[in-house]
């Protein structure tokens, strides 16, 4: 028997992973949730058939979306995470002893339940006393926050489905309002490669540029996401991601990582020419 998970990356491109067996399948109020085991990528989670994470490459995504803003901000204490029900971002955040509070806002409680049960690699720090989980729409949660957080990490799904509100201008504006005067927002910024993804990436960038004085983009290589070439948005009220960054200071924290390091931090903001052009087009 051959059982394959297949995700359509474009109408003409498919990405498949051979499945060893399926561990979970269920529908929440918002989406379909599936967990599989595979030989090549280990356990993996999909929502509505879209790849969210695999055990083999999740460290790249979670380290890059977390450590970049945490290393730029001089004293991040109060952190808001939106989405991220798999727990990967929380896992990375809890490694910072300076962090006092982590609010996680996930719209879908079932995602957290399923991840706690099947994905202990990422959903391993929900019991940290600094972590507070709220099950509601991030768009709603953040509307009520003003001058509250040092760092906001938007670990969203895609700009369609339950997470689409997290790609809107009103949401980015609410994030700006919810941050302290030197706050930083980082978001999952889609991919520049395939046409449709690139258009979504540009839309998102345009709206962030309109909402924050500093808005940069950095990249990482994530094998199981469409094209493998993935971007993150770095939006900030005060700190520049590389000019205001001290690698040696972060190194002194002694946080052991598999992907992120201080040289790569600076390097990840150096983008290919075609990506720079796509971004410049909407700035």
């Amino acid at each position: 028997m051959e059982l394959w998970f297949t995700e359509r990356h474009t109408p003409n491109v498919k990405f498949s992973i051979k499945v060893d067996h399926q561990l979970y399948s269920g529908n929440s109020e918002f989406q379909r949730i599936d967990v599989f085991d595979s030989k090549e990528f280990g356990r993996f989670l999909t929502l509505d058939g879209y790849m969210m994470l695999t055990e083999k490459d999740e460290f790249i995504y979670h380290e890059m979306i977390t450590h970049v803003p945490m290393a730029v901000h001089p004293d991040p204490k109060n952190i808001l995470v939106i989405g991220a029900g798999d727990g990967g971002v929380v896992r990375e955040l809890t490694r910072y002893s300076s962090v006092e509070n982590i609010d996680l806002v996930e719209i879908d409680e079932l995602v957290v339940e399923v991840c706690k049960q099947y994905l202990p690699t990422t959903a391993c720090r929900f019991d940290d006393p600094r972590v507070h989980v709220y099950y509601e729409d991030g768009v709603k949660f953040i509307r009520r926050c003003t001058d509250k957080y040092d760092v906001i990490i938007v670990d969203s799904t895609d700009p369609f489905g339950p997470g689409e509100g997290l790609f809107t201008k009103e949401f980015y504006g609410s994030c700006f309002n919810a941050l302290h005067e030197d706050g930083i927002m980082v978001n999952q910024h889609e991919s520049p490669f395939y046409t449709e993804d690139a258009a979504a990436m540009q839309r998102s960038h345009k709206r962030i540029v309109q909402s924050f004085p500093i808005s940069k983009v950095y990249q990482a290589h994530i094998p199981t996401y469409p094209s493998g070439h993935w971007l993150f948005g770095f939006a900030s009220k005060k700190y520049h991601p590389t000019n205001d960054y001290s690698g040696s200071k972060w190194n002194m924290l002694g946080i052991k990582t598999k992907y992120y390091n201080s040289r790569l931090h600076v390097g990840s903001f150096a983008l290919p020419n075609y990506v720079e052009e796509l971004l410049k087009d909407v700035e």
């Binding site: 729409d137 768009v139 709603k140 953040i142 509307r143 339950p162 689409e164 509100g165 809107t168 201008k169 009103e170 949401f171 504006g173 609410s174 309002n177």
Partner: protein, 382 residues
Amino acid sequence: MYACKEGDKIIMPRNVHRSAINAIILTGAVPVYVNPDVNHQLGIALGMSVAQVEQAIKENPDAKAIMVNNPTYYGICSDLRRITELAHAHGMLVLVDEAHGTHFYFGEGFPVSAMAAGADIASASMHKSGGSLTQSSFLLMGKAINSDYMRQIVNLTQTTSASYLLLSSLDISRKRLALSGREIFAKTVEMAEYAREEINAIGGYYAFSRELINGDSIFDFDVSKLSVHTLPLGLAGIEVYDLLRDEYDIQIEFGDIGNILAYVSVGDRKRDIERLISAMAEIKRRFGKSGAGMLTQEYINPIVAETPRKAFYAEKRSLPLDEAAGNVCTEFVMCYPPGIPILAPGELITPEIIEYIKYAKEKGCQMTGTEDINIERLNVLI
């Protein structure tokens, strides 16, 4: 046109849709306007008060019919049962513009529908809250109406080439609402109530509702309407409307001088409502200012000098807007939407009205009705 012939009187509120005054131009009926009560805080015209209707009946016992706009665009309802009883006691027909009340027939907990209140004729725009294609409506008739004569009347203005597309869309919508209208409108109301609560929590905005009910000119309120007063933010309704569209890609129904109206329907999802609320919070943060110096009045009582028909067909001349005061207008001036005339044919142009027109233009209202599409000149009686 069923109820009145040339010279017949019809009692009606002045804040009607232009189509009602169009019918008066066509028939030559004489309107007896009942000026609506106005809520001065919100600047909006309300329903018809029973006492005013009673007085109009007493002063015009020969009137053939009473027209009621129920609910208004903002969701405000009059005491339709009492008005109907009064009218019938004096041998007058009751005509209801129920364009914004189609859902009263299919949902639960809404204000009384025209037919349930005993009215004689109601026009219900299925294409508004009912979900059929634009341009399709129902004309509802009570027992006292001769439907065969009505058909002849309808034929006076209607095309002989009926659109089967529109007819079938009416029937499909009717079926859908008859079978699942209760759930659909329960969901709509739930979303509208939620949005109201959240918008009021933002501060500055006032999403009004049943608390306005005063037993008379606001006899009831349609809670499916999401009407929001914006002036305390220093923003005209039309400015908030434009910002929602241009900055946040959200298209709402209309904005006027002091209010916006968002039409919540079965096509909306909770997450869309969250976006609307967040966008309004952002508009307050980014664009809000002091509410001082804002024009508040939505409705100015008109001074009627001539019947709409006579004024419309009379010899006229064109004057620049600034020089038009003191003359009798021969055309409509209105913001569209909502399409309620600021001036109707036969009404006196006052400095106050000219100021209002200029203000509405400056704030970006889309204005129509005049021969000069830029509304720099008005046609007046010679």
